[in-house]
Symmetry: C2
Subunit: 321 residues, 2 copies
Amino acid sequence: MTKKIIGIDLGGTSVKLAMISQEGEILEKWSIKTNVLDNGTHIVPDIISSIKDKLDLYQLTASDFIGIGMGSPGKVDAQAKTVVGAYNLGWSELQEVGKAFKEAFDLPFFIGNDANVAALGEQWKGAGQGNQNVVMFTLGTGVGGGIVVNGQLVTGEGGAAGEIGHLTVDTQYMTACTCGKKGCLEAVASATGIVNLTHRFSDNYEGESPIKKDIDNGDEVTSKAIFDAAKTGDLFANMVVDKFVDYLALAVSHIANTLSPSHIVIGGGVSAAGEFLREKIAQQALAYTFPQIRQTCQIVLAELGNDAGVIGAAQLVNTSR
Amino acid sequence: MTKKIIGIDLGGTSVKLAMISQEGEILEKWSIKTNVLDNGTHIVPDIISSIKDKLDLYQLTASDFIGIGMGSPGKVDAQAKTVVGAYNLGWSELQEVGKAFKEAFDLPFFIGNDANVAALGEQWKGAGQGNQNVVMFTLGTGVGGGIVVNGQLVTGEGGAAGEIGHLTVDTQYMTACTCGKKGCLEAVASATGIVNLTHRFSDNYEGESPIKKDIDNGDEVTSKAIFDAAKTGDLFANMVVDKFVDYLALAVSHIANTLSPSHIVIGGGVSAAGEFLREKIAQQALAYTFPQIRQTCQIVLAELGNDAGVIGAAQLVNTSR
């Protein structure tokens, strides 16, 4: 029987785990709650214990696996196998994650940033269809992403590559971003960014719009409500969506023009707006993209959903060892 | 004796050739004229014959080398080892360059786009100091470049990666570019781009300036004259240079935020403006760059000059075989 891989996707509320074949098929998946108490000191022991239980249950040993891969929030040092600054886990101090796994299992262990690792999953078995050059934009509360070049995750100097959400796309209004700089994609094209845009446009909009009415009343407006209103023809919501798309298309073109990937994958919660959003981005990105590259670069929706993390973690083992 | 590499830098007026050690030391260099007559059909035979003469002269054979590398203008297919659309060579039709070298020498042959290959040279033995993640901007008549990630040249789908000159940075004026799209870096931050900016600013400038006077008289203004005037304190020239720098810094930040390279190298004819230009770009790029990446990414001037092409061609052999 061919050896398997253990993939781990560490999140702020749950840890997703899976046994995965070397070809990327999920053979078994499960999850445990993330216990962030006591500065997150229980997290790694909980994961290790859960994996040991699962191996016992199936009467498996380390020799049945080629390695363990993991995606983690925070700043990940892939060489040192450490994590720092994952505040949603209680990990403000440096965590020696690799050391703990090395002591627990006689197996190679590899770790990467969660958004990067999810991109590797989509590249390998999702919307990227195994192509060697694939980039993913994850549109959620913030904007994350990951870059795969020549089949390898790009981590860059200091592990900070793939900060797609901090591409400066708004040079006119220079909207403030939580990172400390201004004009970031994240400040105008995330779930919170689109709400920023709604406020920018509402001051000067004279027409009727249920969305504008909610803003004027001080009610909370969600990105989903804005996209739903745009789909039903609300002119104000469409103004907002068009600007959101324009910023995103500009960022997509920067990736296309520099890296010429075969696929740019749009994922994350905001991408639930689906084909309506994808088509608008693809159309607008044409104007910003080098003619030759327009013909080879497809803008596609993510396909793996929550499984992208564990599948990417498995591929991290395949591509790193 | 350790084996050597032959590096070839094919240009529109001359072909530079060199024998290079596997460590990147130029052992012998020479050049021949590029004969673009008869649709450039003499070029490859001339290069092959020149290499054979040199081997005879030093009583060397194929067994003294590990391979031949080449940088070429035009659209290069690294797999098929062909070139098409190198109009300055007379090569509008597909050229089977690899096939000709395979017939002439019993040696591995590798080919890449000339701007990409020069970037590989600077990454390996020049301003990149052998670091694994280095990107080069070549500011000449146009803007070219090359991207090295994990020590490998990035070619992307269809070989079109590294089109740094066609990053859309001017979303306000959307200056027309020769590529057919608008707002490209090349249209505002090359030797011709800076002249475009001079015309944009001269209409609304009221003060005294020798540069503005030349424009109003319809005289030709060069990028060198603009930089020289800026250095001596000409206010109009400094307005132009500041805008030029702002566009370039934005493009530099896009590369920094996505790839987090250790070095971004500024080369090409316009970079003769030297430290005056480099410092301005580095300063302005800070405002557009993710805080963590500011600390790890250096903006540096190219160091190899005309040797970057042959040295990069040698490294293409090292990294491809």
